[in-house]
């Protein structure tokens, strides 16, 4: 694997530093914690603070969604590892404008534990912390065990809806409810065609035999639910759509937002090839696509693969989705 690399131990610090340098018009580093990125205007007095955080290697997630109208402060972990409880705590402090903080994060063992510990620390400071945990990945547990499912690219919609609701001036409970509603309305699936390599490890985590693919792969290369013959783009797109919509079970006529994200090394053109088929399949199931996003929104280092996320909309979510945002990965460039 040929890559741009200095010392593998420094990659996260360098990424964050480069990120903050590039987007200094919109974000800054937290005082005293180089693993927390804060929106330029945060904390906004009287506004509910939005916090997220997660492992590195998913760029532009998580850090790229920090900015006005979206996330106020983001805690950053090692590659594929939850941020420390301390970083979540510092992010909470940085986001707190006196109206409480809502932490919107993904359902992983480390994040659950670190957010819980951080919330306890914040409670001691007298900051009210509410949480919503994303569990949109349908392949990671059966429907009866939704609480076990991982959070994947649906988190972006959760941040967008929660962030916009907070920007409108809603109180903490209402922001939590909007974000919870958003993630409840999301279903995602991922497919992997080639693995990724943690630079410090130097070889791929796992292998995908040539001619096969992992349907249901996780955002860290967690193996899929099935290894099958590599299909055509159309076959893969249809299968992903089927998995998501069979689980979602939306009434005909429902308006949806669709997000197709590459996993890091998939050419953008191929994402559009997938979307072309997915969109027709989604419409064939009687749904109406209100808005689509196709690009590298939530990646896994240089994995070859893609994810599909479908969020059901109602009038409120449509309004919040359209609200202006200004973060590096979503909104004005």
């Amino acid at each position: 694997m040929q890559r741009f690399l200095n010392d593998p131990d420094d990659i996260v610090d360098e990424t964050v530093r480069g990120f903050v340098r590039a987007h200094a018009d919109r974000v800054r580093l937290c005082d005293g914690n180089a693993r927390v990125v804060v929106a330029r205007d945060a904390p906004v007095s009287g506004k509910v603070g939005i916090v997220t955080g997660g492992g590195s290697g998913h760029e532009p997630a998580f850090v790229g969604y920090t900015g006005a109208g979206m996330v106020d402060a983001t805690a950053i972990g090692e590659l594929f590892s939850s941020p420390t409880a301390k970083s979540f705590h510092d992010a909470i402090k940085a986001a707190d404008g006196g109206a409480g903080v809502v932490v919107l994060y993904g359902n992983y063992a480390g994040d659950n534990m670190n957010v819980k510990m951080a919330s306890r620390m914040a409670a001691k400071d007298g900051v009210e912390v509410l949480t919503v945990v994303a569990n949109d990945d349908v392949s990671s547990a059966p429907p009866e065990e939704r609480e076990k499912r991982r959070g994947v690219a649906g988190e972006i919609f959760m941040w967008k809806i929660g962030g916009a609701k907070a920007a409108e001036g809603a109180d903490a409970a209402a922001v939590r409810d909007a974000a919870q509603g958003a993630i409840d309305a999301c279903r995602s699936v991922g497919v992997g065609l080639a693995p990724c390599t943690l630079p410090a490890v130097g070889h791929p985590n796992f292998s995908i035999e040539a001619g096969t693919m992992e349907m249901g792969i996780g955002h860290h290369g967690e193996p899929g639910t099935s290894v099958t013959k590599l299909g055509t783009a159309d076959e893969i797109a249809s299968e992903m759509t089927r998995i998501v919509l069979d689980d979602h079970d939306l009434p005909s006529g429902t308006e949806v937002a669709v997000l197709v994200s590459g996993l890091g090394a998939t050419p953008r053109g191929e994402l559009y090839v997938l979307y072309d088929r997915m969109a027709r399949d989604i419409e064939d199931r009687g749904l109406k696509i209100h808005k689509a996003y196709v690009g590298d929104y939530f990646t896994s280092l240089e994995m070859v693969g893609a994810t599909l996320t479908v969020m059901a909309l109602d009038d409120e979510r449509k309004r919040l989705l359209a609200a202006s945002t200004d973060c590096p990965a979503f909104g004005a460039a």
């Binding site: 534990m113 943690l198 996780g218 967690e222 193996p223």
Partner: protein
Amino acid sequence: MMASFPNAGSGGIVRDIAAVIVENRAYLSEIDGKIGDGDHGVNMAKGFGRAAERIAPDASLSDALSTLSDVLMSEIGGSMGPLYGMFFAEMSETVAQDTHIDGARFAAMLRAGLEGIEAVGAAKVGDKTMIDALVPAVEAAEANRSDITAQLREVASAAEAGRDSTTDMVAKLGRAARLGERSRGVPDAGATSCALILRNLCDGAARRLEQG
């Protein structure tokens, strides 16, 4: 041979544990990669390696454990930050006032460490986690309170047997859970690092016993 080893000056045991974790960096990542995300060895080695540098040459066991806990919790994060962070924090606190650690205190220290983990995680025996190495080790420690030499031997082998038991388990928790049958055949990464830690803790303590 003594029935206890001193707390003071025993911090070297923790440095030795760290060295072993750093040596096993690649292996721990590899088994985590098979059914998880491959970062276990990387993060463990980073945290333990960093902590070892900060443990004073003459540190006590309790201070060394506390340093290790701090680094894991405040600099490493991941799952290991809170889990091992709490583990070592509780162990450290338990023996902080002890000048010597005998079989009863050793058992109490491990039990507190286990409870620390249980306070943040929710794994049970059989879920294919570090708990599968730790619970039998704590039980062995409690069953052998009166003979610390035997205790140290039994704790280490119980941890290793517990680790081995995870190979054939289907994961019920964490990243590997949805894999079902595909998670069988690989030992759990956390159980493996936990067995390494306990083996080297016991061996280190036994050496301190001999030194009297």
